[in-house]
């Protein structure tokens, strides 16, 4: 079944790519959008079913495997656990909304939907993959698809931004590949099977070699996450990307980095992670504060949200640093930090995804991302204001919304391990509060400039999509047990909580 979640969108993408451009669906973008949305929803349904069947045993469940390149120990292996299931489900949800979201198709609807569906399959595949080779395949392919999405449907200096994104993240994927190979070479028998590698722990006590492999992985994941100072590809890519692509980029692609940290680095090289966890924590705090401070000064809506992404991914990293630290006696706190980091990935995906979609809608209406060009929009666009407000508050960590559930756990968990880092990082939430309140104030409050007297409110498709995301954000915020239970089934055993 999980396989279908990956391949249904992939196959649909292939079919769409082969359809004629001037007849049938190719000539009816609206109908095409509906079809694409329905296809995109299939993985969501499959993952929902998988969720219902999830038992939380602590290991990988619902594993599906088939030999691929057995000579090299490569197989197609997919499965879920408490870490990958929420991320995959979030991905599927975000894709449904992103695909259904209205956007300027530039006369190439088939290619647009084909690429998005392709990216959906690939992204879900990445989170479900239980084989390093498969993981890397999905990792790399996602970059290519995103490159074309930004380049073809972006605006501004889209091609340059797309190229920068592609070059930069590809530059990150190569150390990753080298590290994977370095790790692979130490397994015995040689295999790319994640579960087997985690069992083998081939690099335990491997000294410098393990450290080199570690930093290979680290750089690869850090660029994608991104961790300051490897973040400079992010703002231009976001600003010039079309709204849905931005949403996917922030919501899904960034998570690949943090997911990789947990799934590979922390699981396969726990010793080295513990060795460097304080350093990672410091980097995380720098990301948090730096991202927030830079965001505070932004006048461009999308850049602002992009930098808050840097900030939020910093929270994730902080939680991971604490979760992987070699501090005995704080297993409960470390498990909570890990749970919090994972939930933050999900929450940030939904919230920032929504914020980027909103940015896209604002651009469609106003033609600019400059915040100061707006003001008093509450007069004209109540739904827009309400949904933006909801997401902004979610992003700044308001209780009752998803971000809080994540952040409180990250801070509480980290405080037990690295009190000073946690204390410093906490300043970040005051800054984010300032960022978003200022943003809300400048966009929606005050008096309406003359030129926006005809500013249209969100229309149905937008409201439906954002509403869906909002509903999940509220659901996670109000009653997170269904999510936390699943994540905890991974986090508890991971840190060795008794």
């Amino acid at each position: 079944m999980l396989t279908a979640a990956i391949f249904v969108p992939l196959i649909a993408a292939a079919i769409l790519a082969l359809l004629p451009r001037d007849r049938g669906l190719g000539a009816h973008p609206r109908r095409l959008a509906i079809v694409a949305t329905i296809v995109a929803a299939v993985p969501l349904a499959i993952l929902a079913a998988a969720w219902l069947g999830f038992r939380g045993t602590g290991g990988f469940e619902q594993v599906e495997a088939a030999p691929w390149i057995p000579t090299l120990g490569i197989a197609y292996r997919v499965g879920i656990d408490g870490l990958s299931l929420p991320l995959a489900a979030m991905t599927a949800l975000l894709f449904v909304v992103a695909i259904a979201y209205p956007v300027d198709l530039r006369g190439r609807p088939l290619a647009y939907f084909a690429l998005l569906l392709f990216l959906e399959g690939v992204s879900i595949g990445l989170f479900l993959a239980l084989d390093l080779f498969l993981f890397f395949v999905f990792w790399d392919v996602s970059l290519v698809a995103m490159y074309f999405l930004i380049g073809a449907w972006g605006h501004g200096d889209a091609q340059r931004s797309a190229l920068k994104f592609f070059l930069y993240t590809f530059a990150g994927s190569l150390p990753l590949l080298l590290a994977i190979l370095g790790l692979y070479l130490t397994t015995s028998p040689r295999t790319f099977d994640m579960a087997e590698i985690i069992r083998q722990q081939p690099l335990a006590g491997a000294g410098t070699y393990a450290v080199l492999v570690f930093w290979g992985f680290f750089v690869g994941f850090a660029i994608k996450t991104p961790i300051v100072p490897l973040h400079t590809w992010l703002p231009p890519a976001h600003v010039d990307a079309p709204g849905p692509a931005s949403a996917i980029l922030a919501g899904v692609l960034l998570k690949m980095g943090t997911y990789g940290f947990v799934r590979i680095l922390m699981s396969m090289l726990p010793e080295v992670w513990a060795q460097f966890s304080l350093l990672i924590g410091v980097m995380a705090v720098i990301s948090i504060l730096y991202g927030a401070l830079v965001a505070l000064a932004q006048t461009n809506l999308k850049r602002l949200v992009a930098y808050t992404s840097v900030n939020h991914m910093g929270y994730v990293m902080l939680g991971l640093a604490a979760a992987g630290a070699a501090v005995t006696g704080q297993e409960a706190a470390r498990a909570i930090a890990l749970t919090g980091a994972t939930v933050e990935m999900v929450a940030h995906g939904l919230i920032t995804g929504a914020l980027f979609l909103i940015s896209g809608s604002i651009l469609t209406r106003g033609g600019t991302y400059e915040i100061d060009a707006y003001g008093g929009l509450l007069t004209r666009a109540r739904l827009l204001t309400a949904l933006t407000g909801l997401m902004a508050f979610a992003s700044l960590g308001l209780p009752g919304l998803a971000g809080f559930v994540a952040e409180v756990q990250i801070f509480a968990g980290t405080l037990a391990v690295y009190p000073w880092l946690a204390a410093l990082a906490l300043v970040g939430i005051v800054l984010t509060a300032g960022i978003f309140l200022r943003m809300l104030g400048r966009l929606f409050l005050g008096s309406l400039p003359e030129r926006w007297t005809e500013f249209p409110d969100l229309h149905r498709r937008e409201v439906a999509g954002l509403g869906l995301l909002g509903a999940v954000v509220v659901l996670i915020g109000v009653a997170p047990a269904w999510l936390l239970g699943v994540v905890d089934s991974f986090a508890g055993p991971f840190v060795g909580r008794p």
């Binding site: 290519v144 073809a152 190229l163």
Partner: protein
Amino acid sequence: MNQGESMVASLGDILPEATIVAGGVIVLLFAVLAPRSRQHCAAWIALITTAVAAALTLGMLGDAQTLTFFGTYARDDMAAIGRLVILGATAATIALSMPWFAKDPRHGEYYTLLLYSALGAVLLAGATDLKEFVVAMLLSSGTGFVLAGYHRRSSASAEAAMKYYLLGALANSATLMGVALLFGLAGGTTLSALSTGLASASGPALVTGVALVVIGLTFKLGAVPIHPWVPDVAQGAPAPVAAFLTAVPKVGAFIFLARFVLVLPAATMAWAPLIAVLAATTMTLGNLACLWQDDVRRLLGWSAVSQTGYGLMAIVALGRSDLAVTALLFFLAAYVPANFAAFGTVVALRGRTALGDYEGLGRAQPWLTGSLALSFLSFIGVPPLSGFVAKLLLFLVAIQAGYAWLAVVAAVNTVVSIFYYVRVIAPATFGVPAGPMPTLARGPIWTTILAAGILILTGVAAEPLVQAFTSATVLH
């Protein structure tokens, strides 16, 4: 010992090669005898020849692995696989050439030369003897010079051919001295004689001899320092020939190089650092020179140089990694179709080569654009294309062989390479065409698409190839 009998038996070992020889003669006779309107049939004969030779080769795969012709030639899987790649490339070249050379009155003998050039590469892949190596190289290069200059009214073609020739003649002549020295040291010319004869050798004679032989091979490979012909040929030679010459001789040379380095005395001759340095400089130079090319064919030429550099990583790992041969063969099997998908696009677009002329290709010719993009992505090493598996294996064996720094250099180069590939792909996919973009004929288009399809197929279903390559024996 009954020499006659053994000779007949040996002939069975070179049936595919004999087929090519015979096919070449038949094509030549046909070309001489047939009327002008029938000249294009020569191409079909050549195509059939490659098919028959390939079929015969397939039959030999996994068979008894022996040296034949008194140790001068290998009948092993390595050679057979190389032969299959070469024959596939030759067939693709023929398909690309048919419409391209349709107006050329010397259309017929072109295919003879092509077949013999392929034969040169095939023999190079199978050679286990310095004599055979020299002759095979001569056959391969000699025909190559002519093919490169086959557009006799094109000044670029003539220039490319001349430069190709001059560099080749120099390199070959130098190689002769190297061969002479090695012969003097070992007392024999077969590789097995070298491996025993050189075992105790050392000193300047060995170093000079090996250096000069390597120089000859770098010419065939298009590797530093005898690389400058590659971009010129890629740009100036007839486009199908450019595709052929940047790929086929390389296959033979890589395989011979593999056999050659394996017989060098490990105790006194550390050849791996040399190959590693050559690999690093070749890939780096090729990539850097690509960056600002505004001529797509020339860009492909330089990228062929850089690809050679990646391939050399497998040579470095020979004997140090159990997957080195796999990596080498997979690299070749991935590189050749990608090269043909790229050059095939150029051929199908009637030789369109100025970068600016590719603006908006995606809207005018989506299939060709797709093929071009796939080939470039395969060059970069994006999964799930075969170029990715190749690069993965190359990185793997380099790390395993203790040459992690080389893998890092290759990785950095890969990132650099994205830039120039994207310089072509981006305007092609995002731009709007300025005018119509007519194609040459269906044959090249289908060939291109087929080559691109092979990239996907061998990338996704890599297991059969990996398995075959891993179990391939390498005789010397």
